[in-house]
C-alpha cells in the first residue's frame, strides 16, 4: 500500500493528467452498442456509471482499460491500472495469497496478508479460489485491485454478492483507499446509494445504442 504522503507526492509529479475517454462508436457485428460516449476523468476524481443491464457498461470499462481495442475513437489512460471485473477473474490454480503477490511482485507476503485481512479473508490465505465462496472471491478481487497504487481504478459492480454488513465494510475500505492513493476511479454500480456515497460525478448510459444521458447527474454532496 505504501505511505500515503509519499504516494501522494509521487502522484502529483507523475500523473496530474486528465483521462480522456472518446468512444465514437462501438459495434458488435451489426449491432451498435455505444455511440459517442465522451467524457474526462480528472486525477483523483471518482466517477460512477449507472445504466440498465445489457446497455454496455462493461463494454465501456473494457474499452477504457484497454482490453477491447476494436472500437472507433481513442482513450488516453495512465499505465498503472487496477481493475475489478464483474466476475472475480482469479487464477484458480494459485492460492489467495499468491493471487495477490503474483500480480504485485513488489508486495511482500506480510503486506499481502494484511491486505487479505482488510477484506476479511485473513484466515483464507492458503485456499484456492474455488474453495472460497463467491463473495469471498469478489473480495479477493477487490484486494488485488487495492494492493497496487493505481493511477486509474476501474471497478465493475464491485460490491454485489455481499451481505449488507460486508458491503458496508468494503465501501468504507474503498473510501479509505481512494482517500489515501487518490486514483482516478471509474466504477459501475446498480445501487444509487453506492454511487451517491463514493462518486464525485455520476454518468448514466441510456438508449440503444447507448449514449451518455444528456444532463450529467452531478453529486451535490462532494467536491
Amino acid at each position: 500500500m505504501g505511505d500515503p504522503a509519499t504516494v501522494g507526492a509521487a502522484r502529483a509529479a507523475l500523473a496530474d493528467r486528465v483521462i480522456r475517454v472518446n468512444v465514437i462508436r462501438k459495434t458488435f457485428g451489426a449491432s451498435v452498442v455505444l455511440d459517442r460516449v465522451v467524457f474526462d476523468i480528472n486525477p483523483g476524481e471518482t466517477v460512477a456509471i449507472l445504466g440498465p443491464s445489457g446497455i454496455g457498461k462493461s463494454t465501456l470499462l473494457r474499452i477504457v482499460a484497454g482490453i477491447d481495442t476494436a472500437y472507433e475513437g481513442e482513450v488516453e489512460r495512465p499505465a498503472a491500472l487496477a481493475i475489478v471485473f464483474q466476475e472475480p477473474t482469479l487464477l484458480p490454480w494459485r492460492s489467495a495469497l499468491r493471487n495477490l503477490t503474483l500480480v504485485h511482485p513488489g508486495l511482500s507476503d506480510d503486506d499481502a496478508r494484511a491486505m487479505l485481512g482488510k477484506v476479511g479473508l485473513g484466515d483464507k490465505a492458503g485456499l484456492f479460489p474455488r474453495q472460497l465462496s463467491l463473495g469471498q472471491q469478489r473480495r479477493l478481487a477487490l484486494a488485488r485491485a487495492f494492493a497496487g497504487a493505481p493511477e486509474l481504478l476501474i471497478m465493475d459492480e464491485p460490491f454485489t454478492s455481499l451481505d449488507p454488513a460486508t458491503a458496508e465494510a468494503m465501501l468504507s475500505l474503498t473510501e479509505r483507499l481512494i482517500a489515501e492513493v487518490r486514483p482516478a476511479t471509474l466504477f459501475v454500480t446498480h445501487a444509487r446509494s453506492e454511487a451517491d456515497r463514493l462518486a464525485d460525478r455520476i454518468l448514466e448510459l441510456r438508449g440503444a445504442p447507448a449514449t451518455l444521458a444528456p444532463h450529467l447527474i452531478r453529486n451535490g454532496a462532494s467536491s
Binding site: A82, T89, W93, R94, L102, V103, F128, R144
Partner: protein, 249 residues
C-alpha cells in the same frame, strides 16, 4: 496410498495372468512365450551387461529427444495457438511434417548429418515436434481470454504470465503430449536405432526379430516398459497430482 498401490499391483498382476492365459492358448513359445520363460533370458542379458548397456543407450536418446521435442513443440504450439497470423503461415508446414513418414526424415537425417548420434536425435526430435505442437496449439486456442486481459491490465511480467497464467491452463495438454510423447518418441527411436545405430533397445529388438526370437524381443521391450512405468509413478503422476491439486481441493 497403500490402497492405491495394491490396486496397481493387482492390475499389473491381472495383466500377467492374461498373458499366461494367452501364452497357454497360443501354445507355441516361439509365437508368444509365457512370462515364466522370459525370466531366464532376462537374467542372462542383465548379468552379461548387454541389457543395461542397450537400455541406457536408448534412454539417453529418448531423454534428449523428449526434452528437445517438448521445448520446441510447446513453444511452437503456443505461438501458433495464440497468433492467427503465425498459424496461417505455419499450419501447412505443420501438416506436412506431421505426416512425413518417420522413415523419410530418418533416412534424410542420416544421409545429411551422417550415421551418428546427432543425426539420430535430430531425426527423432523432428518427428515428434509437430506432434507436440499440434496438441499444445489446441490448448493455446482454448486459453481463457479473461485471465489474459487481467494479466495484461495488471502488467504482469512475461515470465510470470507464462508460468502462472498460461502454463497452468496448458497443463492438461502438456501432460497429454508428454505421456503420449514419450511413447511415440520411443517408437521412433526404435526405428532410428534399427536403421542406423549399433546400440540400443531398437537395435536389439530388430536383431532378435530377424532371428524370430520373440522371447528376447519381449525381454527388451518389457525392460523399457518397466522403466516407463517407473517414470510414470516416480515423476509424472506425482507431478500431475501436484499440478491438479486445485481442481480437487
Amino acid at each position: 496410498m497403500t490402497d492405491k498401490r495394491t490396486v496397481t499391483a493387482l492390475s499389473l498382476f491381472g495383466l500377467l495372468l492374461l498373458w499366461f492365459a494367452a501364452a497357454a492358448l497360443t501354445a507355441d513359445p516361439q509365437i508368444l512365450p509365457s512370462p515364466a520363460a522370459l525370466v531366464q533370458p532376462f537374467l542372462r542379458e542383465a548379468a552379461s551387461g548387454e541389457l543395461p548397456y542397450h537400455l541406457s543407450q536408448t534412454l539417453i536418446r529418448v531423454a534428449w529427444a523428449f526434452c528437445l521435442a517438448m521445448a520446441l513443440g510447446i513453444a511452437l504450439g503456443l505461438l501458433m495457438g495464440r497468433s492467427e497470423r503465425v498459424d496461417r503461415w505455419l499450419d501447412p508446414w505443420l501438416v506436412v511434417f506431421l505426416n512425413l513418414p518417420a522413415l523419410v526424415l530418418i533416412v534424410l537425417c542420416y544421409l545429411w548429418i551422417g550415421l551418428n548420434e546427432v543425426a539420430a536425435i535430430v531425426a527423432v526430435t523432428l518427428n515428434k515436434v509437430p506432434n507436440v505442437a499440434t496438441v499444445v496449439r489446441e490448448g493455446a486456442r482454448a486459453l481463457d481470454p479473461q485471465l489474459d486481459a487481467m494479466a495484461r491490465v495488471y502488467r504482469m511480467g512475461r515470465l510470470t504470465r507464462l508460468v502462472h497464467v498460461t502454463l497452468p491452463q496448458l497443463a492438461p495438454f502438456i501432460a497429454a503430449s508428454a505421456r503420449s510423447g514419450v511413447a511415440v518418441i520411443w517408437k521412433i527411436v526404435l526405428v532410428v536405432e534399427f536403421l542406423g545405430r549399433s546400440s540400443g533397445v531398437g537395435f536389439k529388438i530388430h536383431m532378435f526379430f530377424q532371428l524370430f526370437d520373440v522371447a528376447m524381443v519381449l525381454v527388451y521391450a518389457l525392460s523399457f516398459i518397466a522403466v516407463m512405468l517407473a517414470v510414470e509413478w516416480a515423476i509424472l503422476q506425482p507431478w500431475e497430482r501436484r499440478v491438479r491439486r486445485w481442481r480437487t481441493a
